[in-house]
């Protein structure tokens, strides 16, 4: 009897130990990546690096100013496009739980989520770059907005589904029209979830490189015109890392560090918002 219990207790301990070991093993590479990026990247970070433009080959110095501005512009552009579409689709799916159109849309969202980003880049190239005959910030924004869509749609749908039905009834019973019920009662009640989804989708696209290769293209110079090619952090990292110059390699590390910080900040804000703005029913 005693022996059997001891065997079970040993198995318990073994199981717990294994779970901890695997958890640690999977977290370790992540920490190593962060460690390398920080170690190699933080040394080059200074005001000049953050604000200067890339220099021509052979000239030392230079920075990622245009890339930071470009990435911010791309985030704004893709957000402006994808947020209204994403929220509207999310509302539709949460309201229309059954039905042909909504099941087709739901399937499309899943497929879109699994579509390789390079394919989305090519699509934006065909849709926008070819007709306009120029690479542009706008085409990059469109490509990234397509990548943001499934995340926003899914989080909006899931958030709105969790809002109790009796809230909608309360509003409708007061004679409030349907559209106002959705906009002024249901959406505000789900705001924290929706905003979290938007921020997570931004965190997702900030590091995307492939869709930008055929669209935003990259630019050595500062550009604020959305119809001209634009630089971006991931593209700049790619460009610096591919160069044969050791100095530029350290720049790639520095830019990577900034990119990681960007993503981290968006994730942290998202967490803060989902905890703080949470609606109690």
């Amino acid at each position: 009897m005693e022996k059997q219990i001891n065997i079970r207790l040993f198995k318990d301990t073994l199981f717990k130990g294994l779970v901890c070991l695997f958890a640690f093993a999977s977290a370790l590479p992540l920490f190593l990546i962060l460690y390398y990026i920080t170690k190699n990247g933080i040394a080059v970070i200074n005001w000049d690096f953050l604000f200067n433009l890339p220099r021509p080959i052979g000239e030392s110095g230079g920075g990622i100013g245009s890339a930071i501005v470009g990435t911010i512009m791309l985030i704004i552009l893709s957000g402006v496009i994808s947020i209204p579409f994403g929220i509207a689709t999310g509302i539709y799916l949460s309201e229309q739980k059954k039905g042909k159109l909504s099941s087709i849309v739901r399937l499309c969202v899943i497929v879109l989520q699994g579509t390789p980003s390079i394919v989305i880049g090519i699509i934006a190239y065909i849709w926008v770059v070819l007709p306009l005959k120029t690479f542009s910030a706008m085409s990059g924004g469109i490509a990234l907005s397509i990548m943001m869509l499934p995340v926003i749609i899914k989080t909006t749908e899931e958030t709105l589904k969790l809002i109790p039905y009796h809230l909608k009834e309360a509003s409708l019973a007061l004679g409030v029209p349907y559209y106002k019920t959705m906009l002024k009662v249901i959406l505000p009640a789900g705001l924290s979830g929706i905003v979290t989804g938007i921020l997570l989708s931004i965190a997702r696209i900030t590091g995307e490189t492939a869709p930008l290769l055929f669209t935003a293209f990259g630019n050595q110079f500062m550009n604020l015109n959305i119809l001209k090619p634009i630089d971006s952090l991931p593209y700049r990292i790619f460009y610096y890392a591919m160069s044969p110059y050791p100095e530029w390699h350290t720049f790639a590390w520095g830019a990577s560090f900034i990119l990681v910080v960007f993503t981290l900040v968006f994730n942290l804000i998202a967490r803060g918002i989902s905890a703080k703005w949470k609606t109690q029913f």
Binding site: L167, A173, L174, V185
Partner: protein, 252 residues
């Protein structure tokens, strides 16, 4: 009759092919409480939801017969306008979680875009909360969220929200079924006070509540209006055998 608030004439309701309500005839008089009681699934809630056409939210419902609210034909007017004239309180308290207590009370105005001067809103809020017997408890925290209140207080807040629109009739759909006995007693007391100025239609599966609160009672069974009359009379000398059986607990 000028005292008639709501007139229901040979009214039937269907969910798909199921006939939920069968040829109901009912007249609700001004400033009294009419209770609708009956066993589960007898169509009480459907009947009350047909009065403000909330049943239309569920696809596949259809109705026949007529309902009149005062001189308005309920089924030939816009549901939005109808629902502004008919207040409703639900089973579960449902204050708007994103709004303060103050804004919850005037939600019917705010959400419908009806503008009033600030002091008029202040007045509406105070009067409605007083009518709902909630003013003393919340007057110092009007700008806190309504969801911090207890269940009974939340339900009274919902009553205040309905009263703020000055409804012709107040529909109460088992308003105390989610509350504890103390809050239930408070709300029942409130109904007795309110009936001086407000017409109420109360759905309840609690026989004792119907006896305590209502002046008239309608007994629904399997979608049929079995008996309708003064509460006292029905509870002492029911005309129909089924009513008697229900009241004595033989089914239900």
């Amino acid at each position: 009759m000028e005292n008639t608030v709501l007139r229901i004439e040979s009214f039937s309701a269907y969910f798909g092919d199921n006939k939920i309500l069968k040829e109901i005839n009912l007249t609700i008089t001004k400033n009294i409480v009419t209770a609708i009681m009956g066993p589960s699934g007898c169509g009480k809630t459907t009947l009350i939801r047909c009065v403000n056409r909330m049943h239309e939210l569920i696809p596949g419902t259809k109705v026949s017969g007529e309902m009149f609210l005062g001189s308005h034909n309920i089924y030939s007017m816009e549901p939005i306008l109808l629902r502004r004239m008919v207040g409703m309180v639900f089973q579960k308290p449902n204050p708007f979680p994103t709004m303060s207590i103050y804004n919850n009370v005037i939600a019917g105005y705010k959400l419908n875009g009806i503008r009033r001067p600030r002091d008029e809103f202040d007045n509406i809020v105070e009067q409605s909360l007083k009518k709902a017997a909630l003013w003393n408890e919340v007057k110092d925290s009007l700008h806190r969220k309504g969801t911090f209140l207890s269940g009974g207080q939340q339900q009274r807040l919902c009553i205040a929200r309905a009263l703020a629109m000055n409804p012709e009739i107040l529909l109460l759909d088992e308003p105390t079924s989610a509350l504890d006995p103390k809050s239930t007693a408070q709300i029942e007391e409130l109904f007795v006070e309110l009936k001086q100025n407000v017409t109420m239609l109360l759905v309840t599966h609690n026989i004792a509540q119907a006896a305590r609160v209502s002046d008239f009672t309608a007994f629904l069974y399997l979608g049929e209006l079995v008996e309708f009359g003064p509460t006292e009379k029905m509870f002492t000398v029911p005309k129909d055998k089924r009513t008697e059986e229900y009241l004595t607990g033989k089914f239900g």
